[in-house]
Symmetry: C2
Subunit: 229 residues, 2 copies
């Protein structure tokens, strides 16, 4: 059973693009290859199409969503869509990348303003819970990417975990985070923390109405001190 | 945006069926309504169909998978399939329920043999990582359920979190787990722990080849003692 999970491993993703953060917007446009907008007006049109595509796929999912649905939400002509994207798959892939970047950019200022590593992770969680409560489609888009755009799905999680690992490593260097001896440790901790956040976001951000601050206080206590009395 | 995440909330699922553990196999058969097998031979045939369906959907996904694919894998006639299930949707729903129960049953003996709550969670994680390494299709099935069988998807996670919460609560009662004052605490901790396990399973069970014992040692250290030095 090769399946979409088998085979290629994680190395391919990192080798191919490095971290998403490192992507140079000049070099790599959100549009399909050779279709990057050349003017500010073109960039605004592309942004309208992406926002409309997010709405369309968020509401209808990939298979029910359509290019016509996207262009009518964006109020642009069908030909304008094809000025920027080759296909429904292409715009979906860009929506995944864009959504992943939106989550990152939403949380970044909170992290930048935190003096302490683990308290920063707590503030990032509150901010994430608030974000998903008003952007419920983020889960549907990223989760559907597992089937529609498996490489984009992996890349979202690999680059997110890499960012968390880099923050934890910086915290270890400053003595704010406990440093285990194993070289695996920071990566395992990063994936554990990301998994916590994703599931707390699903349960308490998308499904529930509990206070993000209260949920975070409990989760961050676990992260900082563990559950052993 | 109603979407599949909006609206019904979690209460409906708990009210409708309680915990999956509480399901009485006499009362609720895996087959479609009115199609429960009446003989031991029938039960074996149903089991063959379910195993074949797991393979079929695990390899091809729901939309590409077919009833004919299932019956030819199971080496049963098409009519035999319809003796037990009404549709492809119905057998997929049962595969989700069955997969969820298989994960639970695989981990249960490990938990039963653990004297200490948090060490038990560690042993359960090793066991889960080993299980997903040989059952990679578990992720594809459960994740695709989000789109094909959203109620089954929710129920899988809600009942899994409920089981973890019950174990943590028992640990709190015995003084083995730190008891926070908030009534939300145990539920948040359970979802955090489940999220950790799901993402560690994806990264280190399905995608990676790292030692389950080593990964678990690191994750369980986080769970027990936290990351604050």
């Amino acid at each position: 059973m090769a399946g979409r999970f088998g085979g290629q491993g994680l190395a391919g993703i990192r080798d191919a693009e490095g971290s998403a953060d490192a992507r140079n917007p000049e070099a790599s446009s959100p549009a399909s290859e050779g279709k990057a907008p050349r003017t500010a007006r073109g960039q605004r049109t592309l942004r309208k199409i992406l926002d409309a595509a997010l709405e369309e796929f968020g509401e209808k999912g990939f298979s029910e969503g359509s290019i016509v649905g996207i262009t009518s939400r964006a109020r642009v002509a069908l030909g304008t869509f094809y000025t920027y994207f080759d296909s429904k798959e292409a715009v979906f892939q860009e929506v995944v990348r864009d959504m992943s970047a939106q989550v990152r950019d939403h949380v970044a200022p909170v992290l930048a303003g935190s003096a302490d590593t683990l308290e920063g992770e707590g503030r990032a969680l509150i901010s994430f819970l608030e974000f998903v409560r008003t952007h419920r489609e983020v889960y549907r888009i990223i989760d559907e990417a597992e089937f529609v755009d498996p490489e984009g799905f992996r890349k979202h999680y690999v680059t997110t975990a890499d960012r968390i690992a880099a923050r934890l490593q910086a915290g270890k260097d400053k003595g704010e985070v406990v440093a285990m001896e194993s070289k695996l440790a920071t990566e395992v901790e990063a994936w554990a923390l990301m998994g916590m956040n994703v599931f707390l976001g699903l349960r308490f951000g998308v499904w529930g109405k509990e206070s993000p601050a209260e949920v975070t206080r409990i989760a961050n206590h676990l992260l900082q001190s563990g559950l052993r009395p």
